[in-house]
Symmetry: C2
């Protein structure tokens, strides 16, 4: 056991760009008391499970056996919170607090408790000693609450465990919220991440007339877990240049002496909020949306501020040792427990709580009231504010389909017409997001009703740009995703269209959002929010301009690892089905919807009436493409995705040409989750339904959009699984033509047809010459594309010409409509 | 058909920070001729498949039927390349060219052709008219080359299709290459990405004494695909502040008039290279590693510079319309073909090529010679320079294991000892990378031989920092990955340790690297490079401080989608196995190795001799944990991962305690790819081998580290697949204890044991009371952790105490050693 050796407390001289002492002595004392209370409650959460008022000496059993959590960033977070509370009350300002360093969970839980919100949503956490004991014990404790600013934390839209999204979330919240100020604390560790580093540029997408403001507070305390932080360790002229380069007017507050820091930060915060108000008033009265230099604050305070100066001879306050639990073994080690008790008593709990454990009135009354409390703002519980989208009837955008498997339509362009009218009906609650791909993805019709959002310089050749546009394009998938998440979490709606391959850039952001949704499903006071809708286009099969680096259909695989009750995957084969799916997704809540659809001209299959039935069922037999009406099929040809559907249909055409008596059942899958077991996913077909579509024993040739394994993974428990043969993307394909791309991955019509021949026993004896001719066709094709640079005309112009059936067959299966 | 309407050419006044006209008229003319040649060849690649010298009027059949590629960025890339060529020749400077906007592929192919390298590595592309025709035709053509700066492009280490990594790759190349200047062109679109935005801070990790220099060239041409770019549209004082904030001294060159721009850029480039040389000389002569303000260039030039001013009445040069193919239909549309011919002739090909198609000597001789050519530099073909690591004998770091299933060792800490000595033997060719987690991941022993790399301010409490350190930590997984990729691609070695959940941040970077490796495996002149080694620790089962947001084992799922011949996944169960696996990975080439291993104290199972055998086989029966020596097993208990192994072993212990006659076979999997079919992965077991381990018909209870589906996906073709029951992570778990975490996901010993009971028919009749007692244990555990905050003592202290067997059984299976 080493003992505590007192060290000189840190003394960093106070320094601030804005000088002044706006706080009256009494006000200062009350803010400081609130801050001490928040810090006391934070330390208590990390360390204690008994004796929460220190009404007796601290004993081993009062200390948790496992000490988990993060102290270092916490006092800075509570400091900012305290000052915002004063400003909110004085100004009657709506403020949303975004905690970049989400590991400072104890501080935000403490603040919500001091605000009174915590006890409102968790009545068992009462305003007395017993409530405090529960508050302390539950933190990072089995059956309790997470150590981060989690969905469980009132006032949060941002978990912050994965660093990088504080600013993009904050801007997402501020868009279309003209009266809201989002105070976004950016930790100096987080500031090193790529997503955060570019999200500073979000200020070029804010219209001061229409949008709220983000006040970034860059909190520099010098250290991450073990390393220094870059932004705390560059000369201040570089740091200020960086912030000016990002388009901000920076204000610095530095120091360690609480009283001086309270005055400096209060003066600075007042100045910044005045500046924001002035900017907005000027813009709104003059109707001038030009980008201003928004203020931001650089707060330099010690890591683990107000914690023990040193422990065991090592500096703690102001060092990386404060990052998590500053010292362990406080249960067994009497010296450490002494340090803990001194530390806790340094906040003078006897001045903060009365004998029953209730907050003294001076502290309890400091917070703003009702919804103005940052822990209670409805902006942080977006479902409370959400209004459903006003949607036009998607059927009115239908593409006429004279006969199935004909025509050539760009599906996403058709969707663009629908989205244009969705946009026009929801001009303050719907936005579209894309990394410079909105038009490339054929959604440009939306620009008929709103331009792209742009608040930087404009040149004459620019196309549809304005500060008050609603199509948000920045070449950062991270920023698009972060903006959209922030927008959804504050109760609005949106769509993110992206090249399929590069949506992997936000794999981890998707993870965090899916985890947030999964968790909030079990928190009664959290209201459902609008789904996060991805439209993945420019997909793997049509990367004509780009090639191998732009080919990756694996986002679907990534998505299906998350909880089944929050994820949905749709592969509409044509424009009408896409419309129906999109309508469904835009109405839904609490999901992540992944829609994969092509932007290139492609064949159409279903009339709108058929498409609605097909999309609603999510899977179905296409009667008009099937030849098994009179009995059991010889083979099931299944497909999912637009290109695979075309190839599967062409294979069917070829096969029926050669073998008119072949009984093919043609199954198309829109809702990929229908394949999965009913117990694994709420959309999953029950086994009898699945069997009635795919049979129990016939070969199934499945043409799939993505990596073939996924289909096996989804169907491995099905009766007929051993007979399912999947073709999909095999990481083959660089410079090629559309059809040759499928040839390289053996997903083309000829390969599919040969596979059917190989799998249907009664064909094999008589199919030798057919198989040979198909193989020859493939070779002829390869030679043709390598000579002429384009596909064979017969492939390019292929359409379905066999007798069209009137509708999609329901068969015995899939009669139920999935609920969401 | 619309016709070409002439428009005023763009006229942007020339302006540069550094003034001067260093080029003699003759020199200027030759540089301009080289540039015209490169641009001519670029346009030719995009548009032509015949008549490459324009020796006859341009006819429809000379134009490709499908026009694919990107023109807009290309002339800027060739402009920079031309000037670097002059500087290299004058200074005998080693330069590596990194093309951020990788879609400018035609320019870099043209440059490599003009250098002569192209014909050296692709002899069929000859220096004559026929060679030109092939050069043009192959570009973005079936069977030809990709449209990007791909692995096929000599001189490239950077495909650039997924934007964001130009600077991190450039710095990775510059580390430990003191004589190298990496010229990194950053496109203004790329500059908006998060990974690029933070990678500017890489200059805080450069030691001017030891490392080479990166010269960033921010190429602003105003537009992305359809949108303006942020950095081109902020006031220049903001832009320059941003660059200064990033720690650079910026130099601007702007204009559109070629002759003036040649002089301005030449003067600026000379100035920057002088400045780099002076910085390095000062640092090296004084032994002073302090961070300087490195120069960087802002190049503002029109998008599609030198292209047609306008087409069909719309401005093309200087607009977003130049991004890809500036105008289509040049085969069918006579007007467009006229524009194309005029455009091509504007480069005066008759001055550049002689009648045979050979370059005229003035152009052909402009490039530097031999390896100094940027297209031929061995730095861009790292395998040429690579020397194998000097490795200590990993066996010497063995943890003694008296009996299997005892002890408590932090596996990664043991690995740290080995890595320390790897580091000490390879102090100029091995680095370790981590996002502030090297010590958190228990690899701190490496700091005994080298500190962390840090070239910003230092404070007294800082721990092991120096400009010449070799442990590279920045809180940006993207930057870590980019640095490591650049370091490997230039022929060196490294290891990236990361929290398991957050490695998803680089999912898409992994994709691109895996695609690069896959492609280079088929390019004979590319030499093999060292594998990219991930050590994923702080894994899903032990996120005690953090919880749900830090739990995600899905990177393995992501990785296995890529080509089997480049990916490897290892889950060593203990420290000795980890040592053996690590040694293997560090020796390997052309792979991505994913190693998942815990950092918490955990039981040890194998002596070093056993571990070597087990790791080499990758899968095996643990005899000492099995009770089926006398015959066929009743059940196979299988496991992969350290926590699952412990729980599976404890379940075995429980079962054998209750049922001494139960015949359990205990199988542990280290090399996950052994599970896959031999035809799918080179490490895959053949079916008889698999069957001899997992039987053909007995139940298999598989405790797996990650999402359970993956095991099904890997084994769905195996004979016994229907009997494989997998338990793994189910997205459950927030604030809990180590064992309770497994309980929440039903991967704990009691659930596993109950599963065995349920699956072994002969147990079921007599197992009722045992099952009940196991269920009671679970409930007792839940109550205990919720009361006391820690696991039951009997769980925490559990060890294997049954008779230890002498060695891992080879059985009938897995006799072969995988090759890599």
């Amino acid at each position: 056991m080493q003992t505590h050796e007192p060290a000189e407390p840190l003394a960093v001289a106070t320094r601030s760009t804005i000088e002044g002492s706006p706080l009256e002595p009494d006000e200062l004392a009350r803010i400081d008391a609130w801050w001490r209370a928040a810090n006391y409650l934070s330390v208590g959460q990390i360390y204690l499970m008994g004796n929460p008022l220190l009404s007796e000496p601290l004993l081993p059993e009062h200390v948790k056996p496992r000490l988990l959590g993060h102290w270092g960033t916490t006092p800075g977070l509570t400091f900012v919170y305290a000052h915002l509370n004063r400003a909110i009350a004085q100004r009657d300002q709506d403020v949303l607090y975004v905690t970049g360093p989400g590991h400072g969970g104890p501080g935000l839980v403490a603040a919500a408790f001091l605000d009174g919100t915590y006890s409102e949503v968790y009545p068992e956490i009462t305003d007395d000693e017993e409530g405090l004991r529960k508050l302390f014990t539950q933190f990072s404790f089995p059956g309790g609450i997470p150590s981060h600013v989690a969905p469980e934390t009132p006032g949060s839209i941002h978990e912050g465990g994965e660093l990088g999204y504080a600013l993009s979330h904050a801007y997402g919240a501020a868009f279309d919220n003209p009266d809201l100020v989002v105070a976004a604390v950016v930790g100096d560790g987080e500031a090193e991440t790529g997503p955060l580093a570019t999200s500073w540029h979000s200020n070029k997408f804010v219209d001061p007339r229409r949008d709220g403001a983000v006040l970034p507070i860059l909190h520099l305390n010098g250290y991450k877990i073990a390393n220094p932080t870059v932004l705390a360790r560059i000369p201040e002229d570089e740091l200020l240049a960086l912030m000016r380069g990002y388009g901000h007017t920076p204000y610095v507050v530095e120091g360690s002496a609480p009283e001086e820091m309270h005055q400096a930060f209060a003066a600075t915060l007042d100045h910044c909020l005045d500046e924001i108000r002035d900017i907005q008033q000027r813009a709104r009265s003059a109707g001038d949306g030009h980008r201003p230099q928004w203020p931001m604050i650089v707060l330099r305070s010690p890591k683990g501020w107000t914690g023990p100066a040193s422990v065991d001879g090592h500096r703690v306050e102001g060092s990386w040792r404060s990052h998590q639990v500053p010292f362990a073994d406080a249960r067994k080690d009497d010296g450490h427990r002494d340090v803990l008790e001194q530390w806790l008593r340094s906040y003078r709990p006897e001045e903060l709580f009365d004998a029953t454990g209730a907050l003294v009135p001076e502290v309890a009354e400091l917070h703003p009231s009702g919804d103005k409390r940052m822990s209670a703002t409805p902006h942080a519980n977006g479902g409370l504010q959400q209004k459903d989208l006003r949607l036009p009837d998607f059927r009115e955008y239908a593409v006429p389909v004279e006969a199935p498997g004909t025509g050539a339509v760009e599906a996403t362009r058709v969707l663009g017409g629908f989205l244009r009218d969705v946009m026009s009906r929801n001009l303050s609650s719907f936005r579209m997001f894309a990394p410079d791909e909105n038009s490339s993805n054929r959604l440009q019709d939306v620009m008929d009703v709103t331009p792209r959002t742009w608040n930087a310089e404009r040149w004459p050749e620019d196309d549809h740009l304005a500060p008050d546009g609603r199509i948000m394009e920045i070449l950062s998938e991270h920023t698009c995703q972060g903006w959209l998440e922030g927008y959804l979490l504050t109760g609005r709606h949106g769509l993110f269209s992206c090249y399929e391959a590069f949506i992997h850039l936000v794999d981890s952001m998707f993870n965090q959002h899916a985890k947030w949704l999964k968790t909030t499903n079990h928190i009664p006071w959290r209201r459902p929010i609008s789904s996060l809708n991805y439209l993945l286009t420019s997909h793997v099969w049509r990367q004509d301009h780009n090639g191998f680096s732009h080919q990756d259909p694996g986002f679907i695989d990534h998505v299906v690892n998350k909880k089944a009750d929050v994820i949905r995957v749709y592969l509409p084969p044509d424009a009408n089905t896409l419309l129906s799916v999109a309508d469904h997704c835009l109405r839904s809540k609490q999901y992540v919807n992944v829609v994969v659809a092509g932007k290139q001209p492609a064949l159409q299959y279903l009339t709108m009436d058929q498409a609605v039935v097909h999309a609603t069922k999510g899977i179905g037999i296409w009667d008009w493409a099937s030849s098994d009406q009179d009995g059991e099929p010889d083979v099931v040809v299944a497909c999912a995705g637009d290109v695979p559907t075309m190839e599967a249909l062409a294979a069917t055409d070829i096969l029926l040409g050669h073998f008119p008596d072949l009984r093919i059942r043609f199954v198309n899958v829109v809702d990929l989750m229908r394949l999965q077991d009913h117990e694994e996913h709420p959309h999953g077909l029950r086994d009898p339904e699945f069997d009635s579509l795919f049979t129990k024993d016939r070969p199934v040739i499945f043409a799939y959009h993505g990596y073939p394994w996924l289909i096996h993974r989804l169907t491995y428990r099905r009766t007929n699984h051993d007979n399912i043969h999947v073709r999909g993307y095999k990481e083959e394909g660089t410079t090629t033509t559309p059809f040759d791309m499928t040839v390289m991955n053996q997903l083309d019509r000829y390969d599919l047809a040969m596979d059917v021949i190989d799998r249907v026993p009664r064909l094999q004896a008589r199919a030798g010459h057919v198989r040979e001719s198909l193989r020859n066709k493939l070779i002829e094709h390869r030679i043709h594309v390598r000579t002429h640079g384009e596909d064979l005309p017969e492939v390019r112009s292929w359409q379905w010409t066999r007798s069209p059936g009137p509708e999609v067959r329901t068969g015995d299966a899939a009669r139920e409509t999935p609920e969401g």
